[in-house]
């Protein structure tokens, strides 16, 4: 009976501990996230002060984070209403962007890979995108070809949009981000 009790304790310990680590390193990049609308960034993970959770997450995924002095990456996995981004819908990213020397918006599938398409279009950059008259941009992520700034999603059920701001002013990562203007993310025409 005593052996059983000890074994049970160890089993619970190992399972809950490793499970928690698995879960924590698969989702997010540690503490200190800033969230603006649908977009989340982890400015601290791009510095030498990255916390152990951020280090573990990057070691596991193999990703090298953007150094905060270079820029900052905002990730959207949901729309403004909190629904997961679905590549079968039309996902409309619209609005003004925070100031930066240049930016890119890239769409990935649920596993962080680019999405195959005949046009070989995986991203828009501030140099290529067609701007609206009011300095806003509108980029539509959709399964079918369309006019304007279109990023193909190949109809994947889970997609992720990443907005990278290069040489952005330091304030955007250090403050709570209330002042930063980020584009809205809306889904329409879902099947």
């Amino acid at each position: 009976m005593r052996l059983f009790v000890v074994l049970l304790a160890f089993l619970v310990g190992a399972a809950s501990g490793i499970g928690l680590t698995w879960f924590a390193s698969a989702r997010g990049h540690g503490f200190g996230a800033i969230q603006i609308g649908a977009w989340t960034a982890w400015p601290k993970s791009g510095t030498a002060d990255a916390d152990p959770y951020a280090r573990a997450a990057f070691a596991r995924s193999g990703e090298l984070p953007i150094e905060l002095a270079d820029g900052i990456a905002f990730v959207a996995t949901t729309d403004d209403a909190g629904r997961a981004l679905d590549g079968r819908c039309d996902i409309r990213i619209h609005g003004r962007l925070p100031p930066a020397r240049l930016w890119t918006i890239t769409v990935y599938d649920g596993r962080g890979r680019l999405i195959d398409n005949a046009a070989e279009r995986y991203a828009y950059t501030s140099a290529e995108v067609v701007w609206n008259a009011d300095r806003a941009v509108e980029i539509v992520l959709a399964p079918r070809a369309r006019g304007g700034n279109w990023l193909p999603t190949g109809g994947r059920d889970r997609v992720t949009a990443v907005l990278r701001l290069y040489e952005a002013p330091v304030g955007i990562g250090s403050r709570s981000g209330d002042s930063a203007e980020m584009p809205s993310v809306k889904q329409e025409r879902c099947p």
Binding site: L8, G17, T21, A56, V162, Y166, E167
Partner: protein, 181 residues
């Protein structure tokens, strides 16, 4: 008290410890981290151009396809290294990471300013061992102090138009990473 309560409670406390230890240990245990992936591209202390990511192959996850990228995995055990990178017409940056992918320094084209960025990469001990007269002439020399003997230098250059990609990649392939001299 029920017979399962105590082992369950002890188990959860143990679980917390296992969790903390495994999170701390993960960077050392991860088999497929950035360093392991990049080491397949070429030898240490040499610049390798990272193939552009495609939907089917990507050296690292979530790379920015708008950039051309090159890497130098370094080991300072044999002495300080020189890193020389020709600038490209547009935004580019050189970022430094430890062996386990922790970023510790970055310099962009604006901070560098010249046609070629040249810097010396060394550990704190190697820097302390520099002869004093060299330390004086080092005023116009860019020295980057690596917190670890091994690490990663990532060179990323923005490609403004698709047609420029080949030219930017050609510039990056001229980058040098190796013994100073």
């Amino acid at each position: 008290m029920r017979p399962y309560m105590l082992p369950a409670l002890i188990g959860l406390v143990l679980g917390g410890l296992v969790h903390l230890v495994s999170v701390m240990a993960l960077p050392r245990l991860a088999l497929d981290d950035a360093h392991a992936r990049l080491s397949q591209l070429g030898p240490m202390n040499r610049v390798s151009v990272i193939p552009d990511p495609t939907p089917f192959t990507a050296t690292l996850p979530r790379m920015d396809p708008a950039f051309a990228t090159a890497v130098c995995l370094y080991d300072l055990a044999g002495g300080a290294l020189r890193v020389r990178v020709p600038t490209t017409p547009d935004y580019f940056s050189i970022s430094f990471y430890t062996r386990h992918g922790l970023p510790y320094y970055a310099i962009s084209d604006r901070a560098a300013g010249r046609r070629t960025v040249e810097l010396d990469l060394m550990t704190a001990a190697q820097r302390a061992a520099l002869p004093e007269d060299e330390e004086i002439t080092a005023a116009d020399r860019l020295i980057v102090e690596s917190p670890s003997e091994e690490g990663i230098v990532l060179i990323r250059a923005f490609v403004r138009e698709r047609g420029e990609r080949e030219a930017v990649l050609a510039r990056l392939s001229q980058a040098y990473c190796g013994s100073a001299g």
